[in-house]
């Protein structure tokens, strides 16, 4: 566990979270959410929880970003009813 690396990753994590919350475009938000997942994966790997980091890299940064993007592509701004 390296303290300086921790601080850097946590700062990036907060920045990514704030951008993902505030950005207007849903597609960019889901991409940045993927970055957020990858940063959490880095944090866990750095803390020694390699198994959890592996799962987060596969699920959080990989699949869930794709699923978000697939959902965003199939939604419209206005309801069709």
């Amino acid at each position: 566990m390296i303290f300086a690396l921790d601080i850097v990753i946590l700062i990036f994590l907060i920045v990514a979270a704030l951008i993902a919350l505030n950005v207007k475009d849903l597609l960019s938000a889901s991409m940045i959410f993927g970055i957020y997942g990858f940063l959490i994966c880095l944090l866990w790997a750095e803390m020694g929880a390699v198994d959890v980091a592996f799962t987060e890299a596969a699920v959080g940064a990989g699949i869930s970003a794709v699923l978000f993007i697939a959902t965003v592509y199939n939604t419209r701004r206005r309801s069709s009813d």
Binding site: T55, G62, I63, V66
Partner: protein
């Protein structure tokens, strides 16, 4: 405006209380903390047992896998069932069968080479994916098979294997991916995965022990002692988890990206 101020106030107060609570935490990785060493005068800690005894019990070097797949195998089985239920829910909510749909998802499959059809960007992406997908699939099989010796296991390997089909669907189209991994086969794969996991448990019961008590399987695996039988059973169980996760991951993507028609993806 007043609601925003009140909401901010509530968040700040909750955050401050949580931060105050962390002041009592033991230091990170402290071996003398109650979670690691147990309470003084009480029972010895379970984590000490896992750290010192799990290799002797199971001959599995990866402590996390031995806890997840053996000591806490019942939990992991129902986690797999939760993944399966998520896939079923996606199917029940999203999947539509239109009147012009004859039930065969890839009936209108073009007979051209869908990897390199169309514009030039598709040629680059299609060729890259064609080279990369086998490597991803091999790696995912390694992650599953090696999960009890190094980080990894059924969930991770299954997600990576499912992702390889998703990449195929992204780079070409959904029909191409579905012609390799059809709706029937991914749901069958998911159900077979849970059957494998529960089958290991029932097999233990048939041989006269408790559900998921892998030690008795040494009569089947013909190993020297119950330790290696537990190690082999963990591999089998991980394969079951990987089956389910692979099928359901692709099922979720296929239904989400095509609005449940399985006709044309992204």
């Amino acid at each position: 405006m007043i609601t925003k101020v009140l909401a901010t106030l509530a968040v700040v107060i909750t955050g401050a209380i949580l931060l105050y609570g962390t002041a009592d935490f033991p230091a990170f990785g402290d071996p003398n903390s109650p979670a690691s060493a147990g309470v003084e005068g009480g029972a010895p800690s379970i984590s000490q047992y896992y750290i010192t005894k799990s290799y002797d019990d199971t001959k599995v070097p990866n402590l996390v896998t031995s806890v997840l797949a053996d000591y806490r195998g019942y939990d992991t089985m129902f986690e797999t069932v939760v993944v399966f239920a998520a896939g079923m829910a996606i199917f029940a909510i999203l999947r539509v069968f239109r009147e012009d749909d004859d039930g065969v998802p890839n009936a209108t499959h073009s007979n051209g080479n869908s990897f390199t059809d169309g514009d030039h960007s598709r040629i680059i992406v299609g060729t890259t994916v064609r080279i990369v997908v086998p490597v991803i699939q091999l790696f995912s099989l390694y992650v599953v098979a090696h999960g009890h010796h190094s980080p990894g296991g059924g969930f991770q390997g299954g997600v990576i294997l499912g992702a390889s089909f998703i990449i195929l669907a992204l780079a070409t189209d959904l029909e191409t991916a579905l012609s390799r991994f059809s709706e029937k086969s991914y749901f069958a794969l998911a159900a077979i995965g849970i059957l494998i996991y529960a089958g290991f448990g029932v097999l233990c019961q048939v041989l006269g022990s408790d559900f998921l008590d892998y030690g008795v399987l040494q009569k089947i695996f013909l190993t020297d002692g119950p330790e290696m039988a537990r190690s082999h059973s963990m591999l089998g169980v991980e394969v079951g988890v990987a089956f389910t996760v692979t099928g359901i991951m692709f099922a979720i993507y296929a239904n989400l990206s095509s609005r449940g028609t399985l006709k044309s993806g992204l």
